[in-house]
C-alpha cells in the first residue's frame, strides 16, 4: 500500500471484492496514479460506473462516485458533464456494459464527443454472473454459456469506436500498468470523448476455463500478444494474426459537445440564432 492509495482510496472499504489476481485492482491503481499526475482535486472528479465486477470500482475511490445501472454509465455521466462542465468525468465499464447492453450509448458518445474519459475493462467475460461469454469473447473459447466453445464472432472495440467517430481511442493492458496511467492522463487531457480499452484478465471465470493456470499466465499472454503502435507498422501482417495493437490509436480534433452547446446558448441569448 503506497501513499497514493491512502490518498485516493476509501481505505475503510478495502480489501476490495475482486478475486485473487484480478486485473481490476491493477487498473484502479493505474487510474489513481493518473489522477495524481493530472493534479485534479478529489472534489472535482466524478467517477461513474456500470454493473458487474468493474462497476464496483466507484465504491473504492474517494471522488464523487455514481454506481449506475447495467450499461448506462455513459448516459448518467453525460448528464453530469452537461450540467456541471467543471467536473472531470470518468466512466468505468466492463465489456458487458460497453459492448453489449450499453453498446448504443458507446457509439453515440463517440459521435457526440462530450468531454468524458471512458475506460473499458475488457476481460472478455461476464465475471460477476459466473463466466458467460460476452461480445468480446474470442471465438472457440469456453464459457458457462458456451460449454462447447463460442460460435459468436467478437467485437473489436477500438475499431468500433473509431468507426463511430471517436476523437481519442487508445488501448493497453493490465500488464502494461505504467502505460495505462499515461493513457488515462492523455485521455483526460484530450478535449472531447476519450475511450481507453484495457485488455484485462479474469483468472477465475475466463482463465480457468481457457487453459490459463494462474493470473500471471494471463498477464504473460497480454505481454506476448500486445504490439506497441510504434512497432505495429513494421510487423508483417501474418505475424499480427491473433495479436493486438496497444497505444494511442486515434487522436484528432473535433468540436466538443458542451462547448458547442454553450456557444449555441450564447448565440440564442444574443438573439443571433437562425431559426427555421
Amino acid at each position: 500500500m503506497g501513499a497514493i492509495h491512502e490518498k485516493y482510496l476509501r481505505m475503510d472499504k478495502l480489501p476490495h471484492i475482486w478475486c485473487p489476481g484480478c486485473g481490476n485492482g491493477i487498473i484502479m491503481s493505474s487510474f489513481i496514479r493518473a489522477i495524481e499526475k493530472l493534479g485534479y482535486e478529489k472534489d472535482e472528479v466524478a467517477a461513474v460506473s456500470g454493473i458487474g465486477c468493474s462497476g464496483r470500482i466507484t465504491g473504492y475511490m474517494d471522488f464523487n462516485t455514481l454506481h449506475t445501472t447495467h450499461g448506462r454509465a455513459l448516459v448518467f455521466a453525460t448528464g453530469i458533464k452537461m450540467a456541471n462542465p467543471g467536473l472531470k468525468v470518468f466512466v468505468f465499464m466492463g465489456d458487458g456494459d460497453a459492448a453489449a447492453i450499453g453498446g448504443n450509448h458507446l457509439i453515440h458518445s463517440c459521435r457526440r464527443n462530450i468531454d468524458i474519459t471512458a475506460i473499458i475493462f475488457n476481460n472478455h467475460i461476464y465475471g460477476m454472473t459466473g463466466g458467460q461469454f460476452s461480445p468480446t469473447t474470442f471465438r472457440n473459447k469456453y464459457a458457462t454459456t458456451a460449454p462447447y466453445g463460442t460460435t459468436d464472432p467478437d467485437f473489436d472495440l477500438v475499431n468500433l469506436c473509431i468507426g463511430a467517430g471517436a476523437s481519442y481511442v487508445a488501448r493497453s493492458t493490465s500488464y502494461h500498468a505504467k502505460m495505462l496511467t499515461d493513457l488515462f492522463v492523455a485521455g483526460a487531457l484530450h478535449k472531447g470523448f476519450a475511450v481507453i480499452e484495457v485488455i484485462t484478465h479474469c483468472p477465475v471465470n475466463f482463465g480457468r476455463r481457457n487453459e490459463f493456470d494462474t493470473p500471471a499466465d494471463m498477464l504473460r499472454w497480454q505481454k506476448d500478444h500486445a504490439v506497441r503502435t510504434a512497432k505495429a507498422d513494421m510487423v508483417p501482417m501474418e505475424e499480427m494474426e491473433g495479436k493486438f495493437v496497444i497505444g494511442e490509436l486515434i487522436k484528432k480534433e473535433k468540436p466538443e459537445y458542451v462547448e458547442e452547446y454553450d456557444r449555441l446558448i450564447e448565440t440564442v441569448r444574443k438573439g443571433d440564432a437562425h431559426r427555421e
Partner: protein, 69 residues
C-alpha cells in the same frame, strides 16, 4: 557511489496469494509461505523496478529506497 538498496514489504493481511509479484519479479525477491502468500525472501536483490508494486491487484507491496547508501 554505493549501490542503491531497497526495502520491500508485503502486507500479509491483504495479500490474496495470486502469485503475480512472484512471477514478475525479475530478480526473485519473493517466495511463498504455507498459504501461498508472497513473502520477501531476498530483499538485497531488489533493483527498485517496482513491477511488483505496479502489478499487485491488492496494494499489498511497498518498495522503498533505503536512505543509508
Amino acid at each position: 557511489m554505493a549501490k542503491k538498496t531497497f526495502m520491500v514489504e508485503v502486507n500479509r493481511k491483504t495479500c490474496k496469494a495470486c502469485g503475480i509479484c512472484i512471477a514478475f519479479c525479475p530478480v526473485s525477491v519473493f517466495t511463498t509461505d504455507h498459504d501461498d502468500k508472497a513473502v520477501v525472501d531476498k530483499p538485497e536483490r531488489c533493483t527498485g523496478c517496482r513491477q511488483c508494486e505496479l502489478l499487485c491487484p491488492d496494494y499489498c507491496i511497498r518498495v522503498e529506497e533505503n536512505s543509508n547508501g
